[in-house]
Subunit: 202 residues, 2 copies
């Protein structure tokens, strides 16, 4: 049965964008639409305070990730290992890699290990695995990443992000200072950087 | 200058999706990419606790809304009037409209008044404006919306949303119970309802 229950609240900004688009999209796809006003307030409050409801959001996030990675043509994502990188050591090796010019392959190998191979950021085994792939000596690299100069570069990078108004990860900042937050804004950020975003061209 | 600073944290799940996609997208668009590890933790914490940083997020949201409505081909969105519908009267008129079969035009007219005409949900002037457009008597309608039966229907709708795992607005639930949250998941929800989502077909 092709049907969607559309739950929305009179007072939610992003619901407005859906309200103004959903009718046409549903008709074009032959999907029956049920317009369902509901009270989002108690559900949002529960989600902010109670641990049990936070679990509901985490469950949602994992399913979302599963669907989004299918759309991107990626392999199935495993439940990522949490907590991640408590001592920020993986992040600091990243900073070292950025400083030395091998950040892209390090980042790709690291996220693949985390999302597809069930390894933990910051774990010795994970760093060993990733650094071996890149032909880097693990002990030398970890020692170099703990140099105060790298910590200072990492702090400066964070301050620069703050200065751009960043409040989450991932964020994309174009050369003219336009800020985009979230993987679902990646294509928009690229379009903005290329000068082809609809708000720039209309 | 076609350039993006890509700020990401080793430990952020959605950053992973971007990490695995951004290189190709940037190259295809001729955009230079700077990989910028940073510490998202203090920025997220500030944003959760301090009012001043919340303002940063609201500012972002309005800019995001401006860009997204341009993409959707909609007129420029005004800063929506807050707080909205404190007594839930606009929402209850919506519930009455759903019960009586005029929910779609009521919803469209209401969100247009809020987003494009600067009117406030729940305000007498806003309801008068919207209900007049639909040929409804304002006083009779508001009285009918305050009937306990409508309040019970609204509560039941909220409970049903909770049962589906909903925690925000807008949410889309397909006939087979798949939940999607947020306007940026609308197209995905439609595809799922139509049976053409990549996770269903691969």
């Amino acid at each position: 049965m092709k049907r969607i229950d559309f739950f929305y609240f009179f007072g939610s900004v992003y619901a407005g964008l859906s309200v103004l688009r959903i009718g046409e999209l549903a008709r074009a796809a032959g999907v029956e639409l049920r317009w369902r006003p509901f009270n989002v307030r108690p559900l949002m409050q529960e989600n902010n305070v109670a641990l049990r409801s936070e679990a509901r959001k985490v469950t949602y996030m994992m399913r979302d990730l599963e669907r989004r990675s299918a759309i991107a043509g990626l392999p199935p994502v495993k439940w990522p290992v949490w907590p991640t990188d408590p001592a920020l050591i993986h992040n600091k090796v990243g900073m070292l890699a950025a400083d030395e010019g091998w950040i892209e392959p390090f980042t790709l190998a690291s996220f693949k290990a985390w999302l597809f191979e069930g390894m933990a950021f910051g774990d010795d085994a994970c760093l060993a695995h990733v650094l071996y792939k890149l032909g880097k000596d693990k002990d030398r690299t970890i020692a170099a990443a703990q140099d105060p100069r790298i910590a200072a570069l990492y702090e400066a990078s964070t301050e620069e992000a703050r200065g751009h108004g960043v409040f989450g990860s991932p964020s994309f900042v174009t050369a003219d200072g336009e800020l985009f937050w979230g993987d679902d804004r990646l294509e928009e950020a690229i379009a903005w950087a290329a000068g082809t975003h609809p708000l720039q061209t209309r």
